[in-house]
Amino acid sequence: MPKAKQPAVMALFRTPQALLDAVRTVRERGYRGIDALTPYPVHGLPEALGLKVSWMPRITKTFFFVGAGLGFYFEYWAMAVTWPINVAGKPYFSIPAFMPVTFECGILTTGILTFLTLFAADRLRPKPSFKALDPRITNDRFALLIPTGFEGPAPATRLLEEMGALEVRELHV
């Protein structure tokens, strides 16, 4: 369900350092709900933005144990319960032989379900085309987005220009 679009301003910076300084200043001035878009992961940016630790790793860990457990149980059920086959005189329930498949089941389940969960959580879905905010963000520019719900775009624009933004633009995201 798409949310209603919010008014915001976007500023482009030349360096990651300029972006980091701008993020800190903007947060000190009390702006919340800001977001940064960069061409590559910038070290220290999540801390500067005040992002909390993601819950994805915990979900991933859960998926792994569920997948590996189900895989292991399936092997036990198939090899020792429904159709026991004597393989080279080994016990029907042979833990070492089950380990590789258990591991693969865990990895496969984790990979697929984490991928799907991530897309669902971010409300991403296949679309014929995406309209990029600015193509330069994928190359050599570092963008900062500030929502300007109550006070209008003017104060935020002024602040960002003081911070040395190359360009400030109003938009709806």
Binding site: H43, A88, A97
Partner: protein
């Protein structure tokens, strides 16, 4: 607050020699002295047990010294930036290698008490194998290998210290790769080229030596994974020791402002990865032998599982993989110094137990605790190793201040 990424605001200050209390160094020297006296007694009074213990302890500390050499070479060969703050600590471990080479000479006198091929109790079907395990040939190649390793360590350390000295004089220390004029590639620095050659040399010599030291305890048993297993233990224990020393030095304030949390995270992540490598190699070897179940192969694990040795194997599984893996999975714990000390110590202890478990079941069908002779040997080698490493660190800066990319490593701009 100076921010990360900004190399301009970071000043590299020489932290000076590590603050290691003279009491600690005297303690190591005392342990070595007492240990050596009792080791000699043990080798004469209880030769059989004591020579096996000698092999365990000799190999354990040689492997730690080799790990320092290997990690240094790997660092240069990969052109890594992140590991620069740890490089001098890895180099300090190589200071033990000359002592290890001398103890190889001592080991030669125990061949008859350790190895069945030297005692003449086994016969090989192939003439080449009989020739390979000739007394003189085996002794000669092991001594030559360990002497060459010590020489390589000396070359690395000397070049690194020269770089520091040049930096202190204010001379240019830019030993970076040069661009090929008019070409696309880069010419690696001398260190890069030497490391690449050394890694090849290390792979061959260390594999052969692992076969001579340990696999020949059961001369008619063989596996192609053996050297890799020993190498996996070397890698994991080496990372653990470098991590342990760097944490202890930083807690004493010897690393200046150079070692930061993100370096711990990187090294702990590496330890995490190589704990997986260790269990992968160990389990692969076990699974294939267990599955095929040939009597000639399975006897190796049979010996090491029955008679109480199986609990040791279970301990190794937990200490080398399950515990490091689960604990280091957490990003916050990778920055927690106390947790890192605990994990690194556990891994180092497990490596010793691993070697004990590889050597002792050959002569002892039932589990035995190390007796006084083995403890004395451990004390002797620990004393020598600790004395060699702390003496080096007490004279030299524990960070390679002369490395031109140290500032990038501190800033973390390789991230």
């Amino acid at each position: 607050m100076s921010s990360l990424h900004d190399t301009a605001v970071i000043k590299i200050e020489d932290p000076g020699p590590a603050q290691i209390s003279p009491r600690l160094r005297r303690g190591f020297a005392l342990a070595a002295g007492v240990g050596i006296v009792f080791t000699v007694l043990g080798l004469f009074l209880e030769p059989h047990r004591a020579w096996s213990g000698y092999l365990v302890n000799y190999l354990y500390f040689l492997i730690l010294g080799m790990a320092g050499l290997f990690l240094t070479a790997l660092h240069y060969a990969a052109g890594a930036t992140w590991s620069i703050p740890f490089r001098r600590i890895a180099e300090s471990l190589t200071r033990y290698l000359p002592i290890a080479a001398l103890s190889t000479v001592v080991l030669v006198f125990g061949f008859k008490d350790i190895y069945p091929w030297a005692a003449g109790t086994v016969h090989f079907h192939r003439a080449t194998k009989t020739a390979w395990f000739g007394y003189g040939f085996t002794a000669g190649r092991l001594i030559i290998f360990s002497a060459l390793w010590a020489l390589c360590g000396w070359i690395f350390v000397r070049r690194s210290l020269n770089q520091d000295a040049a930096w202190r004089r204010g001379a240019a220390t830019n030993w970076e790769p040069r661009r090929v004029p008019g070409g696309f590639g880069k010419i690696p620095s001398f260190n890069g080229r030497f490391s690449a050659a050394f890694l090849l040399f290390f792979a061959i010599t260390f594999s052969l030596a692992a076969i001579d030291w340990l696999m020949s305890l059961e001369p008619n048993w063989n596996t192609t994974m053996y050297a890799v297993y020993i190498f996996a233990g070397l890698f994991e224990a080496g990372l653990a020791l470098v991590l342990l020393i760097s944490v202890l030095l930083r807690r004493r304030g010897s690393m200046g402002q150079i070692l930061r949390d993100h370096h711990y995270v990187d090294l702990a992540r590496m330890l995490h990865a190589f704990s997986i490598f260790m269990v992968y190699i160990g389990f692969e070897q076990y699974l294939l032998i267990w599955y095929a179940n040939y009597p000639s192969e399975a006897v190796y694990y049979h010996q090491r599982i029955v008679g109480g040795w199986g609990y040791v194997l279970l301990f190794l599984l937990f200490a080398k993989w399950v515990i490091p893996f689960t604990v280091l999975l957490n990003q916050k714990i990778r920055k927690n110094e106390k947790a890192l000390i605990a994990i690194a110590s556990l891994v180092l202890f497990a490596e010793w137990v691993d070697l004990y478990w590889l050597v002792m079941p050959v002569t002892h069908a039932h589990f035995v605790l190390p007796n006084w002779a083995v403890i004395a040997e451990l004390l002797a080698f620990l004393g020598l190793f600790g004395w060699a490493v702390t003496s080096f660190l007490a004279r030299n800066s524990p960070v390679p201040v002369g490395d031109p990319r140290l500032v990038n490593a501190v800033a973390g701009d390789y991230l």
